[in-house]
């Protein structure tokens, strides 16, 4: 073990056709398109940037208040506010293309046709390395989570989007289901190259002074350390059920948390709410993961994936 401290750790992992320099990505919607964070960290040291969800036309998002703090977590009901795919390509993507980091674009839609239209448009962009199909947003009335809570709907949208792009396709799953492994198998069968999970748990908080919901939209998505045990469990269930890679997320604040997800079966991980706590959290996770491996004489980080002992 003494000499182990000097080993070089191979931090690379593979998601579909995509080789990442390390397993640490950003959680969609918590990192915009990275520009705001570039002042605090080196985007080039990330495994990948996953952008905020992009839809065909601009979405205004939900009314305010849009967030509420909860014990070890937060609720959000942002509602996929975004300027639409054309504006996204002209602005955010054009900027991201100049950075030295793989780009994964999170795809939103109100309907199957809209998911396909966004995908077709994004497929034409060379700067995009992979798409993450968001069928799990709890914060929109139509589309979003509705596609992610039934196997048939999840399969339908995956099939349609798969046909519309040759890029690596990651499908982002909802935790608000009875059997997430079953949904994962459905999307794998339709050609998803990977699955990512978990999106937020549907939650609610009430102001006991005003008797009103703390979120204008009443319900929203719960994220942060509070949900980590549910997320780790689901990653473990899904990784045991499918053979495509799993991107794990939910409450990751440090490298130990990331290790937990990898041991449970994740090939890569994403930091969401953690970015708000410290804008350099992703960097701490990258450095900490490498240190974790080095100190234990593990020469490639991918050896952690699914290494849980029972």
């Amino acid at each position: 073990m003494e000499s182990a401290h000097n080993i070089n750790v191979d931090m690379s992992v593979r998601i579909g056709a995509l080789e990442l320099r390390n397993p640490v990505m950003t959680g969609s919607g918590t990192f915009a398109a990275g520009r705001e964070y570039a002042e605090f960290m080196d985007l080039g040291r990330l495994g990948a940037v996953v952008t905020k969800g992009v839809s065909l036309n601009p979405w205004a998002g939900n009314a305010s208040p849009r967030i509420a703090e909860t014990a070890s977590g937060m609720l959000n009901s942002i509602g996929l506010q975004n300027p639409g795919v054309e504006s996204f390509c002209a602005n955010d993507l054009a900027w991201l293309a100049e950075q030295d980091v793989p780009v994964i674009v999170n795809v939103s839609g109100h309907s199957l046709a809209e998911y396909v239209a966004v995908t077709e448009r994004l497929d034409a962009e060379d700067a995009i390395d992979a798409l993450e199909l968001n069928i799990s947003c709890p914060n929109v009335d139509e589309g979003g989570m509705a596609f992610g809570t039934s196997c048939a709907a999840a399969a339908d949208v995956t099939r349609a989007v798969r046909a519309a792009t040759g890029k690596t396709l990651i499908v982002k799953l909802s935790p608000n289901v009875t059997d997430i492994a079953e949904i994962a198998r459905s999307v794998e069968a339709e050609g998803a190259d990977a699955v990512s999970l978990i999106n937020t748990l549907l939650g609610m908080a009430i102001d006991t002074d005003t008797w009103r919901p703390k979120l204008a939209r009443t319900v929203g998505g719960l994220s942060g350390p509070a949900i980590k045990p549910v997320a780790v469990r689901m990653v473990w269930q899904v990784a045991s059920a499918v053979s495509v890679p799993v991107v794990g997320m939910g409450g990751i604040m440090n490298a130990e948390d990331a290790v937990e997800f990898m041991l449970a079966g994740a090939t890569a991980v994403a930091v969401g709410t953690g970015n708000f706590v410290d804008p350099a959290t992703t960097m701490h996770v990258v450095d900490g993961l490498e240190r974790y491996c080095r100190e234990r004489g593990i020469d490639r980080v991918s050896a952690l994936t699914g290494a849980l002992k029972r």
């Binding site: 605090f40 208040p65 967030i67 002074d209 706590v277």
Partner: protein, 274 residues
């Protein structure tokens, strides 16, 4: 201090800071002084910092606070104790460390040719106005402050206003100091008497809205500093949107100071505790 009428918002920093002092100012209000050389040198009036009060997981979000004054390497923050975060803030002792992100947001602007400014502060609305009064007075602008609070003791930030303003008008809900009534009652008169070139307002949203209307009626440009619940504080998460005539804007980067004429007032956007 520059008197540029508009400015580019500077580079944002993540800085480890040390508590220099933390004292009670009045019932439920404290003043914390932080040794924060990099942010203190960069901050402009109306900007804020995003403070990480706890490093545990009991509450994970940062808390946004305006810079009341910046003095050499130090930030002065006036805060009201409301909930979990501000209660923990009140317990910070000299020597403890925290980290801040700042300076953040777009602060107050000084329109070209401003000779006279009216500052309207309701309660803790005085917080983001200390540096503003200092800058205006350093630039030779005549400053009138109209300040309101529930009681005489709750009139905070008076030190800096007395030192910089030509006139400080006060109103209290209980009449224990100044006029008996709301600060909005002072504004009408000040607008008529002083004929200011610009009105700056910060306080409860209902009050800010009235002052906006008063300024509009007098045809004086008005800027308002707004509060929103904020997660990231740097423009990435879209928690903090303000509806404006230019669409949805982010309070943390496009604000917290907005041209009041452009704000589409909507009660549902007011944070729950106000």
């Amino acid at each position: 201090m520059s008197c540029a009428s508009t400015h580019e918002d500077g580079h944002r920093l993540l800085e480890r800071v040390t508590v220099v002092a933390n004292d009670r100012v009045t019932e439920g209000v404290g003043l914390i002084v932080l040794e924060s050389p990099r942010v203190a040198r960069a901050v402009r009036p109306g900007q804020f910092v995003h403070l990480r009060i706890s490093t545990g997981t009991d509450f994970i979000l940062r808390r946004p606070f305006s810079i009341h004054r910046a003095e050499e390497d130090r930030l002065h923050i006036l805060y009201q104790v409301l909930g979990t975060g501000t209660r923990a803030l009140a317990e910070k002792r000299r020597g403890e460390e925290m980290d801040v992100i700042g300076p953040l947001g777009h602060g107050w602007e000084i329109p070209e040719g401003t000779a006279h400014a009216l500052l309207v502060a309701g309660g803790l609305g005085a917080a983001p106005m200390g540096m503003l009064a200092e800058q205006l007075s350093a630039c030779g602008v005549a400053v009138t402050v109209a300040q309101g609070a529930p009681t005489a003791e709750r009139l905070v930030g008076q030190g800096v206003f007395e030192a910089t303003a030509r006139r400080v008008l006060t109103a209290t809900d209980d009449g224990s100091a100044g006029e008996h009534g709301f600060v909005t009652g002072l504004v009408e008169g000040a607008l008529a008497t002083d004929r200011p070139d610009v009105v700056y307002v910060c306080g409860p949203e209902a009050m800010a809205r009235i002052v906006t209307a008063q300024a509009a009626a007098a045809d004086v440009p008005c800027q308002v500093s707004l509060e929103r619940l904020m997660a990231c504080g740097i423009g990435a998460c879209l928690s903090c949107v303000v509806t404006t005539t230019d669409g949805q804007r982010r309070a943390c980067v496009d604000g917290p100071v907005f041209d009041a004429a452009h704000v589409v007032w909507d009660v549902s956007e007011i944070p729950p505790k106000h």
